[in-house]
């Protein structure tokens, strides 16, 4: 962190404190995760079984934390998790859905996609071929399951058709393509993205971006959808098709975030309206990341301002001094904690996205302060 102007920003120290405590919670989730990262902590049931999907995408966060906090234990933990994920990969390259061990284990498109992020990140960090090989096998499995209609089969989720937030699967497929240059993976991922881009409505909503059709979508899956497009734009260089598809939604979320003072309603319907009386804290952090990604390409401190408000609200929701390790540094699913998203639980992915958002925001503010 640069000295001088950036040291005058008290918020940087505040964000760093939150990053440190949330990172510690992530490490505790692994200590209690029987090989992986425990999906969540709840007062009623304590630490849950590990969740391969979110363990997978926690890995890139841990590697970033290692660089940000300069603590090697985060990278060591990331490699531990990578080894565990390799040990439970199916022979066909897929990973199963749900917690582990599953009661009725079945290969999952979405979960496999998220684990690919961990494989890609570990290959880049260690250059160990085993991670790339596992990633390619997983990505080829995903590619093989995409039909001529550009969609995955209906069995993977609750909706009748592939939900739009599966752009969050196309993204890691493209990460693996970038590392392996296996063009089939890219071709199939883009086939899917083109179909989803067609679902954009005039008001910027991408139809089908919620868990269930016809119901309001959590900000969590809205952000999944948007981020999937943004990252795919970065990886393919096709910003017009992919980032362009979600720019109107990003502008809407910018305004909503600001008008709500950082308290985005936990779910939004297809008219951008909401009757939610809670905030989906994961979604808050994810939307902050999406705004900061947009800002990387279109520098505008107004976007940083909105992201800061979203992050500040999640920070305010955390307990940094709490006797119970499952809550200290954790991020709840919702605020209030009885809200509809992951009610009364502290998911590991909420902590992950909060760390990611804060690190990105911190980095941006340091850069802004250094040019002051």
């Amino acid at each position: 962190m640069q000295a001088g102007t950036s040291s005058q920003l008290a918020s940087l120290a505040r964000y760093r404190e939150h990053i440190e405590q949330t990172a510690q919670w992530c490490l505790r989730s692994v200590q209690h995760g029987a090989g992986g990262s425990s999906a969540h902590f709840s007062l009623y049931q304590g630490w849950s079984r590990p969740y391969p999907e979110t363990t997978g995408y926690l890995i890139p966060t841990l590697l970033r934390l290692e660089r940000f906090l300069e603590r090697p234990e985060h990278a060591r933990t990331a490699e531990q998790l990578g080894q565990w994920l390799l040990s439970i990969q199916n022979a066909d390259g897929s990973w199963n859905g749900g917690l582990h061990p599953g009661r009725d284990p079945k290969p999952s498109v979405f979960n496999t996609g998220q684990i690919l992020k961990g494989m890609a990140a570990l290959f880049e960090h260690t250059q160990a071929e085993r991670y790339l090989e596992a990633g390619v096998r997983g990505a080829l499995w995903l590619a093989s399951r995409i039909g001529d209609d550009g969609l995955w089969p209906a069995s993977d989720y609750r909706a009748a058709e592939t939900p739009s937030y599966y752009t969050h699967v196309a993204w890691p497929m493209l990460e693996i393509w970038k590392l392996s240059q296996r063009d089939l993976i890219r071709e199939r991922a883009e086939r899917f993205l083109r179909v989803i881009a067609q679902r954009r409505r005039p008001n910027g909503v991408i139809a089908g971006w919620g868990f269930e059709e016809g119901k309001p979508a959590f900000t969590h899956t809205i952000a999944y959808t948007i981020r999937g497009f943004q990252e795919s734009a970065r990886l393919t260089g096709d910003h017009e098709s992919y980032e362009g598809a979600v720019r109107p939604a990003l502008e809407r979320l910018y305004r909503k975030a600001e008008l709500a003072g950082g308290r985005l309603p936990g779910h939004l319907d297809d008219s951008w309206k909401s009757d939610a009386r809670y905030v989906c804290l994961t979604g808050n952090a994810q939307v902050a990341i999406c705004l900061l990604l947009l800002e990387q390409r279109q520098p505008d401190l107004r976007l940083v301002n909105a992201a800061a408000k979203l992050c500040d609200f999640v920070c305010e929701s955390q307990r940094l001094q709490f006797p119970l390790g499952g809550i200290r540094g954790a991020v709840a699913g919702s605020r209030p904690v009885w809200g509809r998203y992951m009610t009364a639980r502290y998911p590991n992915w909420a902590a992950k996205y909060h760390c990611d958002a804060l690190m990105q925001l911190h980095q941006r503010l340091v850069a802004a302060a250094s040019t002051a």
Binding site: A10, R302, L361
Partner: protein, 264 residues
């Protein structure tokens, strides 16, 4: 001209300065509308947005008005220049044979009716919330606002602060209010005095004072509102609206002013 003046509270110093300054230029401030702000809902909203400190500052301004300003603040200096002695709009209205009404909202049917029947040629907006179409139409669109930032680039709140952060010229803009947020036709744009600004507060107060002077000078000796000759509407894309500064961005601005206090 006959002027209708709005304000968000009775002891608003900017509103008092506008009333005094416009009257000094020969205009008749025929009616003042003050929005009733002291409601529990507003207080709770302010606490959630600005914290208890923010509520305390707003309450101090609300109840003490100009007494809460420091003696060397640009607004206090303008008050001396204009020989303003009154501490409330109500007292000013009494002395100047001007109607004074407290309304729940500037968009209420009561306020719209008052605007229509006031005989005002122009409304000068000195606070009171976002205006809806009905009130704007009641004045045939002649609602003048001092915006503390350069338009069309910097729309919304904390405009002068955003002008510095976005490296835009530190100007204030006098413009007509339309249905959009700071999208109405411009009447005039004025730069802030070129000098050092030690703090955000000093910057903001200077901008507010400049906005007040800007309105007084713009309406100046104009006797017919059509003579104001607003510029054509902005033809390009509408800029992203600005909102209140998050703590991190306030700190960034303060740090910038500390390193580069001279503006522009």
């Amino acid at each position: 001209m006959n002027i209708l003046l709005s304000s968000s509270y009775d002891r608003s110093l900017p509103a008092l300065l506008l009333a005094q300054g416009l009257a000094a230029r020969g205009h008749r401030v025929c009616s003042i509308l003050v929005v009733r702000q002291a409601r529990v809902g507003n207080a709770l909203r302010m606490v959630s947005e600005k914290g208890l400190g923010g509520l305390k500052r707003s309450a101090t301004k609300y109840f003490k008005g100009r007494e809460s300003e420091s003696t060397d603040s640009p607004l206090t200096q303008l008050a001396e220049e204009l020989r303003l002695t009154h501490r409330s709009l109500r007292a000013w209205a009494r002395e100047h044979d001007c109607a004074w009404t407290s309304v729940s909202s500037l968009n209420s049917p009561e306020a719209v009716e008052l605007a229509k029947s006031s005989g005002a040629d122009v409304m000068v907006y000195a606070g009171g919330g976002i205006l809806r179409r009905e009130l704007i139409d009641a004045l045939d669109g002649w609602v003048v606002n001092p915006h503390c930032g350069p338009l069309p680039e910097v729309r919304g709140v904390n405009a002068i602060e955003w002008a510095v952060l976005l490296e835009q010229p530190p100007h204030v803009t006098v413009h007509l209010i339309d249905a959009g947020v700071d999208t109405g036709r411009q009447l005039r744009q004025l730069p802030l005095p070129e000098r050092d600004y030690a703090s955000i507060e000093e910057l903001r107060e200077t901008a507010v004072a400049a906005g007040v002077r800007g309105v007084i000078d713009t309406l100046g000796a104009v006797t017919a509102r059509e003579s104001l000759a607003p510029r054509p509407p902005h033809a390009g894309p509408v800029s992203r609206q600005c909102f209140s500064l998050a703590p991190a961005l306030q700190e960034l601005l303060a740090a910038r002013l500390q390193r580069h206090p001279h503006l522009p």
